[in-house]
Symmetry: C2
Subunit: 304 residues, 2 copies
């Protein structure tokens, strides 16, 4: 039974310099990517903040995807969070040119009363202090998924560990898993991360796919063998949004559902990198998603 | 129907310095690893050269694995090929300390008459000039698999390309695939490598598994999620030997067989790294191999 999903994270403008050119002030932020990805599967409730410069067209875009914006605060005292970065020619690395937090600097997530009982919660990649504030406001969700990154692992480790104690599923990349756990083999790293609280660990490996750990179960999914990446921005958030969106659409958290959720997350992420920003994910149909899910089946099948 | 497999490559002594200690003059070389791996599946015919110092115990070891040594030349004029290397603490990189080619320096593979009609041929990771000499001597094999490495891609590119024109399956790692093809995305790299001759490309990605390309078909296999690697020496040769050994045991080269062969190769390689040198592969049973094959099924399965 499809259940509503609460997504909390950043809503931002991104300015990207990559081989295809400069893309100024396009829609970005962890909550933007995650909620659009999840909206293909279930009803999404977004909590975040934007500034006085945030355009009505973007608001309409979210509404068209049936994303509930009751929790989207519009802070007229300043502008929307803006990030600017330059990608290397092979898109494998990027340099931050500007991070203008603007209204995000004083953001404190307030979960609307109607959202507090959301059975599924996605904590986008933001300050773990804010992630914990969300968890203090929600009422016994069935599943809490948190995304994080090296910036918080290095800079706010103690806060992150407090948050992780209350998280069911931690999503992070392989480098981050190694940094947070201090272990080099991913199996060993996952075990160390279990001890911090989450009962499920999902390690994203970019072009090498993703691995899910739950108890003694391990599921390894390849990446979609794409010929060309246009823009990797938000691929991780899109993966996480597709992952939890699919789980929420099922309304249950069996191991079999989690495995398929990794594949749906991978499918969404594989589409995301084919366009600039959220462009490709915006135009996807459910049929496109099922097609790619089936490609993953073909890609991995070997036993008669 | 199980068919005999011809394996040509180096037979060597390796001296390894790794976190578990120094392992002096243990059995090594591409043909040693590949033929031992393949011997779990089919009858192997080995072609290589050893020197006057090669011990009878090693000869007996090959015989115990039913490996036909008619093509193993014993050159009394010198010592066996010896390689010495030091691994980094995390085993992810290694430095060559010594390469004493000894009798291998003048090696020219001579395929015994009884071996010339071998239906399956594995060209281990040696000089492409020697690989081509082998192909000039064999009679219409069903499938020729060649392994190579960056040393030949950089140093003997023209010879390698001549050899590849006569090879069915090229096995190499991701970095080498990029170097040889000049393409960064693996899908694009595989297409460029097809144009050099091989109709099947297998790209090994170490801890990220392996990808098989045949025509428009792509098969992605994960690596076995091992908690600890003891010694990665020969893992690539073991993979290749397990891969072609399984195919030879089936006696046919359908796409379904190639996919399963990648999994068997991965299973063999995953065992190989659990011990020093060939130790673990020597003691394996067919039952151990099937167990790990089944773990790969569990590891990758997601659709009901």
């Amino acid at each position: 039974m499809s259940s509503p999903l609460l997504v909390v994270g950043s809503v931002a403008f991104d300015t990207l310099h990559n081989p295809s050119g400069t893309h100024s002030r396009i829609l970005g932020g962890s909550a933007t990517y995650a909620s659009l990805a999840a909206s293909h599967f279930t009803k999404v409730r977004l909590v975040g903040v934007v500034g006085k410069d945030y355009p009505d067209s973007a608001i309409q875009m979210f509404r068209q995807h049936d994303i509930d914006l009751e929790g989207l605060e519009v802070d007229k005292s300043g502008d929307t969070f803006h990030w600017e970065g330059r990608y290397s020619d092979d898109l494998n690395s990027r340099t931050t040119l500007a991070t203008d937090l603007n209204v995000f600097a004083t953001f404190s997530p307030k979960i609307p009363a109607a959202f507090k009982s959301s059975p599924f919660v996605m904590l986008g990649n933001i300050d773990p202090v804010l992630q914990l504030e969300v968890l203090k406001q929600v009422e016994k969700p069935k599943l809490v998924v948190a995304d994080t990154m090296n910036f918080w692992i290095g800079g706010k480790r103690d806060d992150l560990i407090k948050t992780l104690a209350r998280v069911d599923v931690l999503v992070l990349n392989d480098e981050e898993a190694r940094e947070l756990s201090g272990k080099s083999a991913l199996v060993t790293a996952a075990r160390a991360l279990f001890a911090m609280g989450p009962r499920v660990i999902v390690i994203k490996k970019g072009e090498h796919g993703a691995v899910l750990f739950e108890g003694s179960e391990i599921f390894s999914a390849p990446a979609y063998p794409t010929g060309e990446v246009i823009d990797p921005t938000g691929a991780g958030d899109t993966f996480a949004g597709g992952f939890i969106g699919y789980i929420a659409s099922k309304g249950e958290t069996s191991h079999a559902t989690l495995r398929r959720a990794v594949v749906y997350g991978s499918a969404l992420a594989s589409y995301s990198v084919e366009g600039i920003g959220v462009d490709r994910v915006l135009t996807l149909t459910r049929d496109d998603i099922e097609k790619r899910y089936n490609i993953f089946r073909t890609l991995t099948s070997f036993h008669e």
